[in-house]
């Protein structure tokens, strides 16, 4: 059996880091409903990350908190796209859709094939949560892409800016789903064969992850061993 750690870490870290990014929108979203929506999605992702980090921790003899708060940037395996700064709302929603589509495929596969019961349970639950996330992100991508000149310009800019960061999450199924979503939004998907980063699998990250972790880990590192 392949080590759960190597297989699950990109997924667990992706959920954790994206959850933290989304939490940065709290009190800053365009409307109160969006504040609440992004908070809910962040919380789901955090719960999913915790479920997996517990499994990884059990296998490697550390706690979920040690994994989340006491690893260095190069030890994280989240896809680069999850750590990118939020940008504007269009960027956040396009990124969310790209990641939601990746997660939908990953969760379905794990629910069907994972040998570990906890991993299967996390995935079964996440499939439904993910469906609601994707409903939200895809409706925003359509609304902005097929909206005003300004919202369309922002959605196009977001898609182009995100494209070099799809490397760890893109496969044929992903491209097909993204293509369909962007077509519905009256946008054109950038070329499948365009260059992309994929360095997180080797522990190489953008400069942004270090700053994110500095904030996310500061409390735990200032008070090691503290619990609620």
């Amino acid at each position: 059996m392949v080590s759960a750690t190597s297989e699950l870490l990109p997924l667990a870290d992706g959920c954790l880091i994206l959850s933290h990014r989304l939490s940065e929108w709290m009190s800053n979203a365009p409307t109160m409903e969006e504040d609440i929506a992004l908070g809910n999605i962040a919380l789901d992702l955090l719960g999913q990350a915790r479920g997996l980090l517990q499994v990884i921790g059990d296998e490697t003899g550390v706690t979920e908190d040690e994994l989340a708060y006491f690893r260095e940037p190069q030890e994280f395996r989240n896809p680069l796209i999850c750590e990118l700064p939020n940008g504007d709302f269009a960027f956040t929603m396009a990124r969310q859709l790209f990641v939601d589509i990746w997660l939908a495929h990953v969760w379905s596969e794990l629910a069907a094939t994972a040998s570990d019961e906890q991993v299967r349970g996390v995935a079964e639950k996440a499939i439904k949560e993910n469906a609601y996330h994707r409903r939200h992100s895809s409706s925003w991508v359509v609304r902005l892409g097929d909206g005003t000149d300004e919202s369309r310009r922002r959605m196009e800019t977001a898609t182009e800016a995100l494209w070099p960061y799809r490397g760890e999450i893109a496969d044929d199924r992903w491209y097909d789903a993204v293509d369909a979503a962007l077509t519905e939004a009256t946008l054109t998907m950038p070329p499948r064969d365009a260059w992309t980063q994929r360095s997180s699998l080797d522990g190489w990250h953008t400069e942004h992850l270090g700053y994110l972790l500095a904030e996310m880990q500061s409390l735990a590192r200032a008070h090691p061993g503290a619990t609620w």
Binding site: L43, D44, L46, A104, R135
Partner: protein, 162 residues
Amino acid sequence: MTRTTEARGWALLEAVPDPEIPVLSVVDLGIVRAVEESDDGRSVQVTLTPTYSGCPATEVIMRDVRTALQASYDTVDVRTQLSPAWTTDWLSDKGRERLHGFGIAPPSGRTTLPLIDAGGPASCPRCGSSKVEELAGFGSTPCKALWRCTTCREPFDYMKVH
């Protein structure tokens, strides 16, 4: 040896409310998978399935369940079982009625996979009108969406199909 249907344990759990929707007991919510009592009746093991991945109520529920059972058993063991995942299909009929009475429209359909039909409330829990519209897909807790009745104009919570 354990017995699997334990009226005393279930009765105690019927009195443990969900912390976020207190008109529902943990039994109505459908998260109690099993209650097993030892032959001498002094210890009990309860198996729960959490509702949502990041639901802050989960830890409170586990604590409340333990406290309620400790009143009647010397040893209480509370376990979680993630698979199969909890679904709103497991809400009791009594729980659905209570939700409605509390002003929360109960889930209107059954869970289908892989795609979810979020459905919509059958009627406004305040005036009974079927003329309702969605305001926001996410609400004050992970389980809810925000809807509005176009007859009485009141906003209300809808418990999403999950």
